[in-house]
């Protein structure tokens, strides 16, 4: 009973110190609850549970968050206990046994923990509607905006139980920390370095080489190299980063120190010495911040770019709201009936015949090239006449351009996913049709037919008619190529009416071939990239707040130990102005360096993402700069949050050392 009173009094006395602690605990609880509640939410689970990919994504995300929360809580707790060394030693001096001090700390942890649990869950409940709304709004095309306010009891139960266990573990971890304290240690405030390391030139060079190699591969590697080595790149850069913070940065500091004329200035001397004194204890945290901020930023920026480009991307690939091949002509009556039922009036419908031709190609030097695999000696080509093709570009919702072809010439259209380098191979080559030869004078990606055709050509109308009569073309599908009539339809509400698209799908998917609906592509993209964005934002928010508060705790802890140094420095003539400068120089790098390294990483990580995702998987143009611009905003936000924490930390630090 007396112990509880003492615990409560301690909290009251050190309210400011506890406030940060309390804030981070509450935030952890809030995070966990929000996430669990989100998983339980009816609308959300309806939206995502049907696809195992999504539920896998969400649960993986959940596990990552929990591991992170755990890591964060335990290390902040340890810092917190260390920050209170003096207080604890006073108890020990008054004859309180270690066991009892441990119980006192346990009690305090539990009191703060339970309060944090209440606040965290309550705010979680208040925000649950908002988080669910945001998630659904960004992931669903047909989401109408209504969501019920809900209190999720299983989520409350799980959160409460989990955190009670975590808090208990934290409380018990306190015992371990205390039992490692020697009373004498407690009074000799940190005479021993926490592992000042001189660093090693070898590690510095090695880390630079590792990171540099990673950067080099990411930046200058061909798409194929980047795709194959994306995991090695990641490993190179991550290991390089940790080595840098463990051994390289200390070396940089000691190099700075060897430049006597700048190091032996009062402010530099004090702050650099103090910073390198703590290097080891904070190195891993800084490296983790650098790596995670780069990963998070890249993921979000990539997801977000995809997300915002989704509509354009959909039509780049599919061109129309709906397209299919073959099918009985009479089915169009049923299609019109469906539009009528849904009151859709603006409709464009177009049907064209598609032919295949057997084309001989003789390109020298193809065998030893990547493109060699694509162009055999003979290939099936889809053939369009210029007027049909131009009609298609007219109707397409992307930027496919009409063509103007002279007699004896042809425009080659490659599969949408072919890289530009493949297309160049065939430019200027001769194509041997059974009764004539045409020359390829231009090439483009096929943006008007999404039936997976590898090779297509467009011919001048007169050439086309002549060769058709000569029997060079066939309307029957052969091999990989898909000839036959194609029908395309554009209509109102194509991307927003779920029921309309569903009805069309029901009608057509059995009776036609190669059916594509922009709506389904679009909504799936929304779900995936929306989810990626959401998870990314959620995770970054959690991550940034937690790492920032960890830095805060570590610095406050350091302040307790550095207090007597400032006292002494003042006596030997450090004035208030110099003291301010010292504190700034002492703390600023702690926040700045990891962020700066993270930014640098992102610049290159973004390039990898750009190569892998945008140039190879989902082509979007000029993405690198867009993504960089977007991530600049994200880093702006990071910088602001870190800045706020920096000032809070500085304030608290200055107060403690005063």
């Amino acid at each position: 009973m007396k112990l509880t009173a003492l615990a409560l009094r301690n909290i009251e006395r050190n309210f400011k110190k506890y406030a940060m602690y309390f804030f981070s605990l509450s935030f952890s609880v809030f995070t966990a609850y929000s996430f669990l509640a989100l998983l339980q939410n009816e609308q959300v689970s309806m939206a995502f549970a049907y696809d195992t990919r999504y539920s896998a994504m969400l649960s993986t995300f959940g596990i990552i968050i929990m591991v992170f929360v755990m890591f964060f809580l335990i290390s902040s707790n340890n810092s917190f206990i260390k920050a209170r060394k003096k207080e604890i030693s006073t108890y020990a001096l008054f004859g309180m046994e270690n066991g009892k001090i441990g119980r006192l700390l346990f009690m305090e942890t539990m009191i703060v923990g339970i309060a944090a649990l209440l606040v965290g869950i309550t705010s979680g409940i208040f925000f649950s509607k908002l988080t669910a709304m945001i998630l659904l709004d960004i992931t669903m095309a047909s989401y109408t905006g209504y969501i019920s306010f809900f209190i999720d009891f299983p989520a409350i139960y799980i959160t409460a139980m989990t955190f009670l266990i975590i808090f208990a573990v934290m409380g018990l971890a306190g015992f371990r920390v205390i039992s490692k304290f020697e009373l004498a240690d407690l009074f000799i405030a940190d005479k021993m370095s926490e592992g000042r390391s001189k660093g090693s030139i070898l590690l510095l060079i090695l880390s630079v080489i590792l990171i540099g190699t990673g950067y080099f591969l990411a930046f200058f590697g061909s798409p194929r190299v980047v795709v194959i080595s994306s995991i090695p790149i990641l490993l190179l850069v991550i290991s390089g980063t940790y080595l840098f913070f463990w051994g390289g940065l200390p070396k940089v500091l000691s190099l700075l120190k060897s430049n006597k004329s700048s190091y032996y200035k009062g402010v530099n001397l004090i702050s650099t010495a103090a910073f390198s004194h703590r290097m080891k204890s904070i190195g891993s945290l800084m490296a983790t911040i650098a790596v995670l901020s780069a990963v998070a930023t890249t993921a979000i920026a990539t997801g977000f770019t995809l997300y915002t480009n989704l509509e354009k991307n959909t039509y780049d690939m599919l061109a129309y709201d709906l397209s299919y091949r073959d099918g009985d002509p009479s089915i169009k009556e049923d299609v019109y009936a469906i539009f009528k039922k849904h009151n859709i009036e603006n409709i464009e419908l177009y049907t064209a015949d598609r032919y295949t031709a057997q084309v001989g190609i003789s390109i020298s030097g193809l065998d030893n090239d990547e493109a060699g695999a694509l162009f055999g000696k003979e290939e099936q080509f889809i053939v369009y006449s210029q007027s049909v093709y131009n009609q298609l570009t007219e109707l397409s919702k992307n930027d496919a351009k009409p063509v103007e072809i002279s007699s004896g010439e042809a425009v080659y259209l490659g599969f949408y996913y072919f890289p530009e380098s493949y297309l160049k191979q065939i430019l200027g080559q001769k194509l041997l049709l059974p009764s004539d030869t045409v020359k390829v004078t231009a090439t483009a990606k096929n943006k008007v037919a999404s039936f997976g055709d590898r090779h297509s050509i467009i011919l001048n109308d007169a050439d086309f008619d002549r060769l058709l009569k000569a029997g060079d073309f066939s309307i029957i599908s052969e091999g990989q190529q898909s000839a036959g009539a194609m029908t395309i339809i554009n209509y109102e509400k194509a991307l927003s009416s779920h029921q309309l698209n569903q009805d069309l799908y029901q009608l057509l998917h059995d009776k036609t071939k190669g059916l594509t609906l922009a709506y389904f592509h679009y909504t799936e993209g929304l779900e995936v990239f929306g989810l990626v964005c959401f998870i990314g934002f959620f995770m970054s928010a959690v991550f940034i707040l937690m790492t920032a508060s960890l830095l805060f705790f570590k610095q406050v802890m350091a302040a307790e130990e550095e207090q007597h140094q400032y006292k002494m420095l003042r006596k030997i003539g450090m004035d208030a102005h110099t003291e301010k400068q010292v504190i700034t120089k002492r703390l600023f790098p702690v926040f700045l360096v990891p962020l700066a390294v993270g930014i640098l990483h992102s610049v290159f990580a973004m390039k990898t993402a750009d190569t892998v995702v945008f140039s190879n998987l989902i082509p979007v143009e000029n993405t690198y700069l867009t993504v960089l611009a977007f991530s600049a905003i994200m880093y702006g936000v990071y910088a602001v949050v870190y800045g706020i924490f920096y000032f809070i930390t500085k304030g608290q630090y200055s107060k403690i050392v005063k």
């Binding site: 370095s193 032996y264 200035k265 009062g266 001397l269 010495a273 002494m568 006596k571 003539g573 004035d575």
Partner: protein, 252 residues
């Protein structure tokens, strides 16, 4: 030559309007000449530390003046005080108070670094001092890597490096065993002789005090008595014990 002149200084702790104000120093006047090694003695709570803090300009007197180098230090602004401290005063603390984040060398040059002295000058001063005090071999080590005696000498170097007008030491032997205590006193005596340093040492240790040339005894914030060392060290020692037994300080 006189370097410090204290005139009627007093120190009152607590709010002036507050009834619970406490006069730690009532009215003290004395002078210090260049090259003197002065002891300040008195019972615990008599105001020794308060006096020393005022002389070291860490604290301001409530009333009175004290002149150093022709200036009334009590009237200086905070910034000027810091500068004054840096230029004119060297401190030797209990527990040496070296920064554990720095090597001995860095600790020693710290006061000069804060002044913005050039690297060459610093290096020269460090080496001549360190050589003289015998710590040249351990200059690049950190405080926890060297012996207590070496830390002590490093602290002395730090106090000396600015050529201060006066070195202040508040119970420097308070936490030391008798052997290291004696070492420190010998060191102070050496500094006093060789560097002509003016030293003012607060102590309530009779043995430590017997190293001084002159001792001021303080009781309840006032100077009670003053003793000068004579030819005979034993006599001086006995005289100190006599005064201290009247003052009620513990005699060791």
């Amino acid at each position: 030559m006189q370097i410090l002149k204290v005139e009627n200084i007093s120190k009152i702790y607590g709010d002036k309007k507050n009834a619970r104000q406490y006069r730690a120093i009532k009215s003290i006047s004395f002078e210090v000449k260049e090259g003197e090694f002065i002891g300040v003695m008195g019972a615990s709570g008599s105001g020794k530390t308060t006096l020393l803090n005022i002389l070291g300009s860490i604290d301001k007197p409530t009333n009175g003046r004290f002149m150093m180098g022709g200036k009334d230090i009590a009237t200086l602004s905070k910034k000027q005080l810091a500068k004054h401290r840096m230029e004119n005063i060297g401190f030797i603390f209990q527990n040496y108070n070296l920064l554990e984040t720095m090597t001995l060398k860095e600790n020693i040059i710290l006061p000069l670094a804060l002044r913005g002295t050039g690297v060459r000058e610093m290096e020269e001063k460090v080496f001549s001092l360190a050589k003289d005090l015998g710590i040249i071999e351990v200059l690049e080590k950190y405080p926890y890597e060297v012996s207590g005696g070496e830390q002590q000498r490093a602290a002395a170097c730090r106090a000396l490096i600015t050529n201060p007008k006066m070195i202040l030491a508040d119970e420097p032997t308070g936490n030391l065993d008798s052997k290291s205590g004696k070492e420190l006193l010998d060191l102070l005596t050496y500094i006093n002789k060789e560097y002509k340093a003016t030293i003012l040492m607060v102590t309530h240790d009779v043995f430590a005090a017997s190293y001084c040339q002159k001792i001021l005894f303080i009781r309840d914030g006032e100077i009670y008595n003053e003793l000068h060392a004579g030819e005979n060290k034993k006599q001086f020692f006995d005289a100190i014990i006599d005064v201290m037994s009247v003052l009620g300080g513990e005699v060791r």
